[in-house]
């Protein structure tokens, strides 16, 4: 598995994240070759309606030139499914970026399990498999001696999970975070302008910060999923989303925000992991708190034994942001496979 000069990659899902990853790979391939001494060879791209498989390597320039080139390619096979063909691939790393059901984790969960069962390392940008079946995936990866990486699932390219490597000699006692940019945008606008929740949500939708159906964001489910992954990775817990006490932001009123201001507070939708409990709910925090960030940003505060509070902050969503996290995961796996 990716011990040589060539790393064979299979991409499942060529939506925004998948396409951004291929563009980033194209942009960075010379740099990767020069600095890490290996070539990335894309051997398969799976889509919902078929797959392009070519063991000699898929030409990124052609695929990215035009949306239709994928299906026009002579190696394109219609109506084939990733879960049926993963076992036939000679891939080193499977990158999973399909649209996934938040309640079942499918089809990503099946793809991840199938890849691991076939001794293929996995990188995923899908949260659901990890907040639903974290332990099962990790156990399987351990059993198969495979790596499974999912940095993009929490705060995108902010190194929320990989910071663990830099804190091996420290102890994290608590995590407090803002993990949903949509909710933070809504609360920021309500606080700044005194507008209602529905007006702020409408604005967020018009600007493309909120989905047409924003339920998973505003009811706190999205942030809860990310909190599960964060606490399992950084605190060594084995939680699932059912363990999180979740409150959304729909009941926050302009009056409540005004009252908070009176006493030097702001209301933020916090995800908190502390004393073996996971909570996602609106909380009052001091106006000068580092967690008082504006707009669609994400932030993560790690309370540590020796460094006090360590704060990470950055863009928590977007195609290239996720693609950058995936590429970091890829380099990390290759380095580990080579014994670094």
């Amino acid at each position: 598995m990716c011990k040589g000069m060539e790393v064979k990659i299979c991409l499942i899902g060529m939506g925004n994240v998948g396409t951004s990853f291929l563009q980033l790979l194209k942009e960075k391939r010379d740099n990767i070759r020069a600095n890490f001494n290996f070539n990335c060879k894309l051997i398969a791209i799976f889509e919902h309606d078929g797959a392009l498989i070519n063991n000699d390597g898929i030409d990124l320039d052609i695929i990215l030139e035009n949306d239709t080139n994928l299906r026009k390619n002579q190696h394109w096979k219609s109506n084939v499914k990733a879960q049926d063909l993963i076992s036939t691939l000679d891939a080193d790393i499977c990158i999973e970026t399909t649209p996934t059901n938040p309640n079942t984790g499918e089809p990503a969960l099946t793809h991840i399990i199938e890849a691991l069962n076939n001794n293929i390392d996995v990188i995923s940008s899908n949260k659901a498999p990890f907040y639903l079946q974290y332990k099962k995936i990790q156990n399987l990866a351990n059993k198969m001696n495979c790596f499974v990486k999912f940095e993009a699932t929490v705060a995108s390219c902010v190194p929320a999970l990989s910071i663990k490597r830099s804190l091996i000699g420290n102890t994290i006692s608590r995590i407090r975070a803002i993990l949903n940019g949509t909710n933070n945008y809504i609360l920021s606008r309500m606080t700044a302008e005194g507008i209602s929740f529905s007006a702020a949500l409408k604005e967020a939708q018009e600007l493309g910060y909120a989905e047409t159906d924003p339920t998973l964001d505003i009811n706190g489910y999205d942030a809860a999923g990310k909190l599960v992954i964060l606490s399992n990775e950084l605190l060594g817990w084995s939680k699932s989303i059912e363990d999180v006490t979740i409150k959304g932001i729909t009941k926050i009123t302009p009056h409540a925000l005004e009252l908070a201001k009176l006493d030097g507070y702001v209301i933020k939708h916090l995800a908190i992991a502390e004393k073996n409990n996971l909570t996602v709910e609106p909380r009052l925090i001091k106006r000068d708190s580092p967690l008082n960030i504006q707009g669609t940003l994400n932030t993560i505060e790690l309370q540590t034994k020796y460094a006090g509070a360590i704060i990470l902050m950055g863009k928590g969503a977007g195609g290239f942001e996720a693609a950058s996290a995936i590429l970091n995961d890829l380099l990390s796996i290759v380095k580990k496979r080579r014994g670094f």
Binding site: K247, K251, I252, T253, H255, A256, E258, L259, A260, L262, D263, G264, Y265, I267, E281, P282, R283, L284, I285, G308, A309
Partner: protein
């Protein structure tokens, strides 16, 4: 919560000299009591309550003491109370329609004293919000306090936003 008792000379500006080091070192002042009735030898006892960030409490308190001594302010007593004794929270919903007096009395029956209350509403029977600052007994944990508030919220269909 930190309680500080000092003796100040009864001259203009001396109270400001007391407040400066507290404020400079991150103290959030909750109250000041000026005992004019207890003036002796032109000095007045003054009590001040303030809060410091948990992480910096030891350093900040040392700095405050040092600066007060440099200013020749006589410290009579300084004590650090339980850090969890005061909680600020907001309730939203039909806060008035569900009898706010009853809410306060219910808290009081559990030895949870409402120190401050601020309200925002359009009509009494509309959705409204109140900010409450409560003091709770040392024997009660913060989680126990929140459970008591949550019980009221559940009964009255109110939404709790806490610090």
């Amino acid at each position: 919560m930190i309680y500080l008792e000092v003796k100040l000379p009864d001259i203009p500006g001396s109270l400001v000299e007391l407040i400066k080091p507290v404020s400079k070192n991150g103290g959030n002042i909750y109250g000041i009591l000026h005992h004019h009735d207890k003036k002796i030898n032109n000095t007045i006892p003054v009590d001040i309550w303030f809060e410091l960030s948990d992480e910096l409490i030891e350093i900040s308190l040392d700095n405050i003491k040092k600066e007060l001594i440099e200013k020749n302010i006589q410290i009579i007593k300084i004590s650090v109370g339980s850090k969890n004794k005061i909680l600020t929270f907001i309730l939203t919903g039909h806060v008035f329609d569900t009898d706010i007096t009853n809410t306060i009395k219910t808290l009081d029956s559990k030895n949870i004293k409402v120190l401050e209350l601020h309200a925002k509403f359009t009509e009494v029977d509309e959705i409204s919000s109140v900010l409450m600052k409560v003091e709770f007994p040392e024997v009660m944990t913060k989680i126990e306090l929140i459970n008591e508030i949550e019980k009221i919220c559940k009964e009255k269909n109110l939404f709790l936003i806490r610090s």
